[in-house]
Subunit: 243 residues, 2 copies
Amino acid sequence: MTIEWPAITHITKIDPAKPLPADLGVLEHTDLVIVGGSDDVTEENALTTIQEVVDSVPEIPVLQEPYSSQHVSVETIAAVDQLFVPAIYNGDQTHFVGKHLQMFTQLSSDFEGLLGQSGSMASIAEKICAVGYVIQNTDSRAASTAGVTESLSLDEVRGAALATEVFYDFPLFYVEYSGQFGGTTAVNAAATVLGETRLLYGGGIDSGQKANAVLSAGADAIVVGDCFHEDRDAYRQTTRVDH
Amino acid sequence: MTIEWPAITHITKIDPAKPLPADLGVLEHTDLVIVGGSDDVTEENALTTIQEVVDSVPEIPVLQEPYSSQHVSVETIAAVDQLFVPAIYNGDQTHFVGKHLQMFTQLSSDFEGLLGQSGSMASIAEKICAVGYVIQNTDSRAASTAGVTESLSLDEVRGAALATEVFYDFPLFYVEYSGQFGGTTAVNAAATVLGETRLLYGGGIDSGQKANAVLSAGADAIVVGDCFHEDRDAYRQTTRVDH
């Protein structure tokens, strides 16, 4: 399905290595699902999670965020609407360009092997969602995986947002606090320079109040992860925000 | 002026630190001029060169390729149609993302100071020409400046071209052999995966035959540098190619 980003304000991030809630029907209240994680994720548990989500809420778009090419297969690519592929401004070279160069080298050598019989250059473009990304919690697992040693200043967050908008031309810019609530200042800084690019915020959102604060500061969508797995009531609160 | 890339097949690269030919009227035979270089380039000689070109051939678009922020000023930006800004796939981190993050951080902090009274986000987007770039001659000055230690394999050139087309979404992809003629294989590899992205080739073109070979292999435009400064007859031959 085509993803209508302007209509998406609430995103649920599901870690395939964590247990799923008994009733996935709660996902009816989110606008989009991203399946991805680092520790203990495999192609098998990623595919199982994707399929359970698609079976439970077939009308909700599902993206896979692969942390490694090992998590991706012809089956996972076929099962999701898009691959969610971050380019991390404050990561190491591998995480802004190196792994992408490797991925597109593989793809360009073997469209059909990786995308099935419909494999073509146009189908790759449709399957990829490019995301300009900053990781602001340097103590997080996401930071250590991506080689992030320093968070960006507010001026640099604004610069990265502007580079996303006018230079790299990614459709999304993501401010990630990964596991802790980062407040609204970075979102606010990025929002001042973004036009067409959609602004996502993730990190520590576990209440309607925090969800509302970040959206009011200029985020187009919030990403809610931990409390989906851990606290159903808190998760439901994050979905009950009017925009 | 708006740059009509599909009409551009011949580009002249002028080094502001080298003497200009006595008669700049020869530039009537090129489609676009890029002013830039590394050694001994200053904001002053860049601006002087830009102004001499604009005065001699006002109908030809002129871009500045700054190797350092020291080469750019409000005056140079105002004098050119666009800034030509490479992101070098096989360069060090600074040359794919670091210097861009720095540049857009400065720009986002001070639109007006850098772009004059018309400074705005929209005017930045219009002034920037983003270029996905690979440097294939590792012995060149360009390679050592950009931290390039290895050229890309043909598979990787094709992967970088595909990443340019569908991920980073740069309007141009540039195969640079910097000072030596690289033949047609890399151009051919890149051309197989490019759709909207324009393919540029630069390096060692000093005859109509070489110009023709590269264009026939799939380049949309050739970039001619050294022989503009050194050999007027050879330069004229490179402009006499029918497409």
